[in-house]
């Protein structure tokens, strides 16, 4: 897979802006523009709510914590199920089958503006991101109970969440494709933090994730997965992803600890999306030594892949560069600093790699 862009920078997703225009302006300054999520406007723009909008009985508090009212869900879930089934049944012959599942402005104030800007600017690639089904299932709770309680208590719920996330992702991918834009879909799965392959539910979750990735790829999307914590990287690398996105400072070492899986992933055409700029305090950002940061990363890779300079070179040349995490909870001025550092990093990187 080739992504030809002048700059290989993009964002994680969330931004601190209060204004759609400003958020879009930030996004479009990246090499690959990304769909901004701006939860300061509306807690429904936090990732779980955004992925699960449409689930009957879904509630979101000011902090973005999603919970489910089980009674409402039980009384109305069949409507959603019927809509989902209808859409999936129509999907092969109806390009608009998932149109109903596109994010509404209530959960993504930027979606329509983003699409429009992409089409007007004739941008070839765009990145969108959505909470992955495993995280969505594990995060959703019944009010007053522990996270994950919703899927635990309501056996049919997890299947519906899976379908809903898939329908939303497909809706977004199709919409981008119809506009002539190559979509990069990143599934945000911080929930993989607790991944265990001895847990059958999680094994099943991985299978579902694999199918989702496969489905999105068949629709013409390039699929990435962002996990901003450490996890069972071997299992994740085997999911058939196009991109693996992670926080370099936090996870590079752990990822490199699975060299064979990583090598196989890269040789099969997988790419890394490196969260190279720490999303840290303003003072740290202002004093960030980008060159030193790059040197650290190169050293870390060099230790494991020093004997395969071509693979290493290609990996870093074809990688995407991002902030380590979303920026919603930072000031706008920090977002500017992060963007600045990211551009600098990418430029140094290009210089270093030739």
């Amino acid at each position: 897979m080739t992504i030809t862009v002048e700059r290989r920078t993009t964002g994680i997703g969330s931004l601190p802006h209060h204004n759609i225009d400003a958020a879009l302006a930030h996004s479009f300054r990246m090499g690959i523009p990304f769909l901004p999520q701006i939860p300061i406007r509306n807690p429904w723009e936090f990732m779980i709510a955004q992925a699960l909008e449409g689930l009957p009985g879904l509630e979101v508090d000011r902090e973005g914590i999603a919970s489910l009212n089980p009674d409402i869900w039980a009384s109305r879930q069949r409507e959603l199920q019927a809509r989902l089934e209808r859409s999936f049944a129509e999907a092969p012959r109806n390009a608009m089958a998932f149109a109903d599942f596109e994010p509404s402005p209530a959960i993504s104030s930027s979606w329509q503006p983003f699409l429009w800007e992409l089409s007007e600017r004739r941008v070839p690639h765009a990145k969108i991101q959505l909470a992955g089904p495993m995280t969505a299932q594990w995060a959703l709770k019944i009010q007053g109970e522990a996270p994950g309680s919703a899927a635990e208590r309501l056996p049919e719920l997890s299947g519906q969440i899976y379908r809903l996330v898939m329908a939303r992702a497909l809706a977004m991918v199709r919409r981008l494709r119809q506009s002539g834009i190559q979509p990069l879909v990143f599934l945000d799965e911080p929930g993989l933090y607790g991944l265990s392959r001895s847990n059958p539910k999680q094994v099943l979750g991985l299978q579902e994730l694999r199918l989702l990735i496969q489905t999105l790829r068949k629709e013409g999307a390039r699929v990435g997965l962002h996990c901003c914590s450490n996890t069972d990287w071997e299992a994740v690398l085997a999911l058939g992803l196009d991109f693996l996105s992670f926080d370099v400072a936090l996870s590079l070492e752990n990822l490199l600890a699975a060299p064979e899986a990583l090598r196989n992933f890269l040789r099969a055409g997988g790419r890394l999306s490196l969260g190279v700029i720490p999303t840290t305090r303003s003072a740290v950002l202002r004093s960030l030594n980008v060159k030193a940061l790059l040197a650290e990363t190169l050293d870390a890779f060099g230790e494991r892949f020093g004997e395969e300079p071509e693979l290493l070179r290609r990996t870093l040349r074809e990688a995407l560069y991002t902030p380590a995490c979303g920026l919603a909870l930072h000031p706008v001025s920090d977002a500017e600093l992060v963007l600045e550092a990211l551009e600098e990093y990418e430029a140094f990187c290009r210089e270093a790699l030739g």
């Binding site: 400003a22 930030h26 496969q214 489905t215 068949k218 069972d232 999303t279 004093s287 963007l339 600045e340």
Partner: protein
Amino acid sequence: MKKPSLRRTLAERILVLDGAMGTAIQAKELTSADFGGEAHEGCNEFLCVTRPELIREIHESYLEAGADIIETNTFGGTPLVLEEYGLGARTREINLAAARLAREAADSHSTPAKPRFVAGSIGPTTRAISVTGGISFEDLASNFDRQARALIEGGVDYLLLETCQDTRNIKAALLGIERAFAAAQTKLPIAISGTIEASGTMLAGQSVEALLASVSHLELLYIGLNCATGPEFMTDHLRSLARLSPFPVACVPNAGLPDEHGRYLETPGMVARILERFVSSGWVNVLGGCCGTHAGHIRELARLASRSRPRIAAPPRVSALSGIDYLEITEEMRPVIVGERTNVIGSRKFKTLVCEEKFEEAAEIARAQIRSGAQIVDVCLANPDRDELKDMRSFLELAARKVRVPLMIDSTDERVIELALSYSQGKALINSVNLEDGEERFEKVVPLARRYGAALVVGTIDDDPNQGMGISRARKLAIAERSYALLTSKYGVPPEDIYWDPLVFPCATGDAQYAGSAVETIEGIRLIKARFPGTKTVLGISNVSFGLPPAGREALNSVFLYHCVQAGLDLAIVNAEKLERYATLPEEERGLAEDLLYSRGADPVAAFAAHFREKKPATRAVGAKLPLLERLPRYIVEGTKDGLAQDLDEALKAMKPLEIINGPLMAGMDEVGRLFNSNQLIVAEVLQSAEAMKAAVAHLEPFMEKAQSASRGKILLATVKGDVHDIGKNLVEIILANNGFEVVNLGIKVPPEQLIQAVREHRPDLVGLSGLLVKSAQMMVTTAEDFARAGVDTPILVGGAALSSGFVDRQISRAYTTGTVAYASDAMSGLDLAKAIVNPERFAKLKEELAEKRAQLQAAGGSASVATQEAPARRSALIEPLQATPEPPDFERHVLRNTPIERIWRYINPLMLYGRHLGIRGSTVRLLERSEPAPDAKAQRIWDAVQEIKEEFKGTALFRPSAVYRYFRASGEGNTLSLLSAPGGNAAPKALASFEFPRQRRENGLCLADYALSLEEQQRQGLVDSVALFVVTVGKGVRALAEQLKDRGDYLKSHIVQALALESAEAYAELLHEHLRASWGYPDPPELTMMERFQARYRGKRYSFGYPACPRLDDQATLWKLLEPVEIGVELTDGFMMDPESSVSALVFHHPAATYFSVGQKGGPDDDNR
């Protein structure tokens, strides 16, 4: 002295009308005695009788200022208005006195070189018949008649219908004036001046184009615009008028809009500067001033007129119609659709509603047609069993307000036609006239068309005794030629107002005389259009399919329409709701229809009818039975659960649950993936497979062994104070609980004191702290310190995205002097650590390892800090200090509450509202903006929905705009912009506030402070530099309304309301910014289009905090202190967001080099892509 004619003078130079009469009188601060008593107080017209010298004085002041034309003081001189002061009976006296006063004043200043003229001013009365009602058309005409008679008698040079807000009022006035001319046996020129409100239309809804189309049948002295707004806002309307008008054009603006104290804000210089742009663009023949203008304004305008050339009219000849909306019939838009369902002959539903006198519902049919694409509505109420005149009145009384498109009045009764014309604001189309009875019908109907301004449908029927109706193409043309000669030469009908109807006959009734008639009609169109290219054609399409099975009628109509349009048809009368698209018809159906139309084949009617009686269904199949280990994967592959549970139970007899999952079930999933990849399964089927797999796992789970029955230990879990992210923590909980730990989950945002209390209460073996945010890492340090201070020594496990082992080792472990801290990089390592901590031996070893590692770290010297790379606070050499600065009119705080929302909506960037927010393609938005039909129904629906929402909510609190702004003296030093006290006196300027802006980190990096001169520069050059701050707001309560709409399931409307509010606020910011530029003394050039304005192609820029050049959102707080926008209802939230959200705040610079930039390293001018 022989005075040159008004028309000739107007052709030679720009004439100047006088300024405001009303505000001039107001300035005299008169008492009731001046008005002849309290009962008449406020009746300015009566002053012509009670204080003639005062009115004369005002006239004189304007004449002395250079006005060529003065208006009589008779704006409210109809009996209707005068009667409000009990003066209706004195109409003649007042108007006569006014006319004579003006006449005398004008004559006394008139010279051969500069003749002065008198315009007999006729205002719109207090009723707009289409809007307020309350008066009949006839009564209104009679009012105007009485006023006009007196003005004519008083010697005015022409009659000026001014401040026209409703074209039906104009039509009534014209009728009245026609009678007055007849009575006086004279004829004076007439001029019309419309008032375009901020909405972009007249009060009754017509645009300037529609107004022009409605009155273009007259020989007007001139047509123009006056009142309502300042000159700037007239730009687009005046441009349109100048492009289309065959008459001279007048521009008579207000001196801007008044502020909250009623002060008109535009000075003579400002008004003249803007009008100069109009004049130099060649748009104007008459200049003048309306409300708020005085002799000073007229003096400036006279100067401008004396050095300028008048507009020379060269308008294109167009076939235009109008209702409330304007419709130009152009080649590109063919065929224009005429809705046929409001016709009692063609629509049973409509006929029934009319018979039941349900006119409201009947009028809705007209609206439904428009929604479905009709651009003209045919109205026929000729039911022989009813009173057509009465029905037409009842129907149009309602429909005229609901239907914006032009009307096609379909009647054979000229009384009905005249009545209907009096209900149309615009230029309607009369359907129809013909020569069936010789010229009789022409004689009755054509004069009506000329009087009211209507176009004519002319049928190709004549008085031939053998065959009146033209069936063959040659006969159609012959009748058209005869009609054309009569209409254009004898009746003076312009060719562009002729719409030929070459007649359509049923092609499948078996009637021999109509055999082949369809193709004759098609070819007839071609011949007529070739012979009379300036005319148009119209056809009632559906007649062609009369008598055929209903299923086929729409297909045949569609194909017939297609061929007619190819031949040149302009207007098609069809059922807009059922019109099939030719392109979507199957090839076979098109062929059958064409055979029928062109009479091809043996029996095309039979073949056509047979085809449309056929229909077809569809089916699906299932799979088979296999041995158990093969059946299990098949359940997954086939995505079925039927029998799955029994087979799993069967498998459990020989296998462990995990073996079944990882064996046959996973094999099934792998096969699903393979089949999906090779396109043998579709997504829906894959999902069924996943569901089957899930059901299988759920069934097997209860049979799995528990990890351990007794508790391994107790752990307290919490997300630290200030953080709400708990996914990681919750997964740790799941993992630990599944591995025998007892977990007490304290939730999110847990402060140290609560944790300490919980430790004391639960006595856990370890505490797990989690957090996603960077600040959470700091909070863990604080929590560890508090634990130590409280004497807690329970081991702590920390984890989260913002943590690294280095931070834990260097910071948290040092803070936790009483206990052990371990870092869990993920949930599984957390489990390992937890297991180690509850095992004394392993815990001791862990402590040793941690201590050793941390000691090494300390020896290595900890973290190194890197020097900051702040850019020097030095003015960029790219921004040259100005040698002259514009002067704001004042430094006071202004509050605006009366800006009409319609005016603001004109400044909405359609690409943002319809494109960005509502998802319509840019190219489609541009089509819709030009009132062209959208290529897709969805776009049109959204467009219409926005218009409906505007209508529904305008005037409500939801869209009640307000603004606060103020200019500040300002200076820029380094990266600091200081706002200073207003200049004046000798005191040194006092700093009111300052903003620190970031600077681009590169050579000559930009900073907003560069756009203001330093105080030293100002003092050296004797200048005062300034900036402006403003806050505008529009949508109070929008969010609540949007929520309500969403709850009701009205998602689109909810979205539109929010998007409209947001873009209205942006539009208001654009409008106010334009005003600020003009007040600074540099108005936008006239040729600046709205689109260029949206692209900020003007001098100076406005910046909102939180954007790339000034990213610190907390600067909003300073702005709030300075402007106090709370007064206009805008609050600042804790996060410095504005509430209502549909508000815009900005800092405005006038520097010509101001540009949008980012403070990022790579950023440069225009970097933020605005």
